[in-house]
Symmetry: C2
Subunit: 471 residues, 2 copies
């Protein structure tokens, strides 16, 4: 199963398979007493930390400043003193140390795969993955896919695009390791969804990977084109990441009823992928945290202390077997609740019974871009003619997010409208261009008169998300 | 190098590498006396044919009818009696034996990858590839990529989309086998080219794979955005398939001058890929036919007899190491001239010194779709109100092909135009819808009066291709 049980990083045996009747990929590890498993995890954690300290100026600098040395980390309590990493810090580090940042731990010529966040603003994050990491990713994915019921006789349709985004590639790497029939169809090209329907009907793949919103869109398009997703398609297992949704009861139910399938929720952060180590088993009781692959804590967003089971917190992730671009205590900003109550599957990992259901900050995701109200505000304030207040409305028409920004125009602009009626059109366009340049998303600006948007004493609730992503 | 030198199919050693200074991947095989190599090829050919006969009802049926039995094939002369396979035959076979046709030679559950032609008409062809085939593909690609100069220190940007189309996947499989840094960026998503420019600048990949027209489009967009492809980008080697172009002197020169790179022409047929065994070496004297991977003949389009070196003919391809979906004597319909004159690289393979420069039939390619004038004619004739004659004009604006169909309207329609001026608009729309449904491509119909398009005594030259693909 593992060729070097006492070494780090682990080398998995690519020929290993449990028997098809077996529920678990690595039975002992998955069902072990968590206290005993923690000992194994801690060994991997120590090795990963020592490696990162040695190879990455980024970590060495930060930890030296915090007075932390890997050798002094003797317990999880010591580990929790390591400063959290925030997304903006790695983005800044990459800007200073292009293109991969000073947390790249392998020689550049050993980078096997380059991926990244889409960041059309010119500030994307690059993700580097080494060749042996890629093999471990395949093994980790295969194990979790086995856990939600896929077996070598299955065939998987991958309906998300193959480019910078790692979700599709991780699903493919896992499917290859599991020796499934892989149908990497992709998505997003003009006319591709229509073509997909015919191929899905003809090939009868038994599994689907993509985003929940795309799966619902495919079902809708299918019905429009005269297909019945329940009868004409053969998806038994549909697994998702890239968005919340598959963990939200109403969405899960809609997907399962549309296709007659099991809807499996997965999800982590782009910086952690393609390790996709929050993942449901086929009992769908919420995502298990596959702790011996990626170590996950749940912390209070204010105090940053680990919260008890039953409590709400923010997942913080630590790679345990990544040599290329390891993340040590990466703060996700997502909101979840965790539990150690048993799952009928018998795995002893902690679980997120309600999935990810919100954000600890006010970030929102539009067409795959992370957007903060503060970014919108900054862009508007750069435009002469902006009034004072604004509001953000996000809707979803079919599979496409729409960003609407209602912005006040200033009293000065109001005074000029009569003599110069085109001033509003120009102002609107200027704001839209500035938004695109600053936040990477083109929004529709709706101008409103000064004073028309409600002021509040407290932090304004400026974002109205009509997509019901978390409901 | 090969783990089973006397067995079939060959099992390549995935750890094998020549020394980086070595020009050849498999020196002996590539530089051998062709007569001696033919003996080796013939052994593979025999094994491939016997396998196909045993596993594929499609071949058994055809060969039995033609009185051919694999055991009776003792020479290349015998081999040449095997009936040619035409594309429409495999399409028909797949329609009768869905989804993979009766020429699938492995059990369906052993299909490792599904790809296909795009065929938006509902008549695409499905390509099945087995797991061990996929490994051989990686080895074959790596060998040809080595031949045009790529080495493990290189990094390759793959700028063509990852979906049904196999070109991108083959380039990736080869790059992975060569242990290059792979940057599978894709193409075709809205806004993706603009994003590509920034990533290419930041990551400085040394190699590019895509279509020649896309490479030229990227250079043009780069200049519009203030980049100089020569200074800001670092492409040393750009290799192409999917279109002719990289073998056409003017296009090759333009690409090499735009980027300061070596422009490498590759190309075969979708049914043969991702084995991409017509490929230039870094001397760029025309594509070598890597005959011990895919056996290639050049035949006279009328007599279907093999032509002498120096003559023009149509490439006919035979897989030599494919267990999944082997093609035996697949007629390509492309036009090329072949030679056995030596190349400075020292390889002793025959060459296509002018690449592929035309078609033996009147098929043309629009936005990746194979279109025949007979298909256009059939669609038009289904529309009441069509006159008698038509003409097809194909243009390319930037990277996008445009299909214009000039069609006469009937005398009956002409009589009604005065009283019913909207009749022409309706007729035009009906023709465009019919074309889309029948040939899979949306064209612009330009209606012209009855009798205005020239009649000829001979086969009308109905296709005007303004894209200069072959010039």
């Amino acid at each position: 199963m593992i060729k070097n049980p006492n070494g780090w990083p682990p080398q998995y045996d690519n020929e290993y398979f449990p028997s098809p009747q077996e529920r678990y990929w690595f039975k002992d590890m998955e069902t072990m007493n968590p206290v005993r498993r923690d000992e194994i995890i801690f060994k991997k954690l120590k090795a990963q930390i020592a490696y990162a300290y040695e190879q990455a100026p980024f970590y060495r600098r930060r930890w030296d400043q915090a007075g932390i040395h890997p050798e002094k980390i003797k317990s999880f309590a010591d580990f929790r003193k390591i400063p959290l990493v925030h997304k903006h810090e790695i983005r800044e580090d990459q800007a200073k140390n292009p293109p991969f940042g000073s947390y790249l731990c392998i020689p550049r010529e050993q980078v096997f795969r380059i991926h990244g966040s889409s960041g059309t603003t010119g500030k994307p994050t690059a993700f580097a993955i080494g060749r042996d990491d890629w093999e471990r990713i395949g093994n980790a994915h295969a194990r979790i896919m086995w856990g939600f019921g896929l077996r070598p006789r299955d065939s998987v349709f991958i309906g998300s695009f193959f480019s910078l985004y790692l979700g599709s590639w991780g699903a493919l790497a896992g499917a290859e390791r599991l020796r499934l029939t892989c149908f990497p169809f992709g998505a997003g090209l003009p006319g591709q969804t229509l073509m997909a329907l015919r191929w899905i009907k003809d090939m009868q793949p038994t599994a689907f990977y993509g985003t929940p919103s795309f799966a619902l869109y495919v079902a809708e398009r299918a019905r429009e084109e005269g297909f019945d997703p329940l009868k004409d398609f053969n998806f038994k297992t549909m697994f998702f990441s890239g968005e919340p949704g598959a963990g939200i009861p109403a969405t899960k139910k809609k997907i399962e009823e549309s296709y007659g399938c099991k809807c499996i929720d997965l999800g982590t952060m782009a910086e952690m992928t393609p390790w996709m180590t929050n993942g449901e088993c086929d009992f769908r009781t919420g995502m298990h945290l596959w702790m011996d692959i990626v170590y996950t804590e749940l912390v209070n967003p204010e105090t940053k202390e680990v919260v008890d089971y039953g409590q709400e917190g923010v997942p913080v992730y630590t790679h345990l077997e990544r040599t290329s671009h390891p993340m040590i205590r990466l703060y996700s900003g997502d909101l979840a609740t965790w539990t150690n109550e048993p799952c009928p599957c018998g795995r002893t990992y902690p679980r997120l019974p309600k999935g990810m259901y919100g954000r600890a900050d006010d970030m929102f995701l539009v067409r795959g871009e992370n957007v903060y109200p503060s970014g919108v505000e900054g862009a508007l304030r750069e435009v002469a003619g902006f009034g004072e207040e604004f509001r953000i409305i996000i809707t979803r028409e079919k599979a496409m997010d729409e960003l609407i920004v209602q912005a006040e125009y200033s009293k000065e602009v109001a005074a000029k409208v009569k003599t110069n009626p085109q001033i509003l059109e120009r102002l609107k366009r200027e704001m839209e261009d500035k938004l695109k340049a600053r936040i990477g998303v083109r929004g529709h600006v709706e101008l409103v008169e000064y004073g028309k948007i409600e002021r509040t004493q407290f932090k304004a609730r400026r974002v109205i998300d009509k997509r019901d992503l978390y409901k």
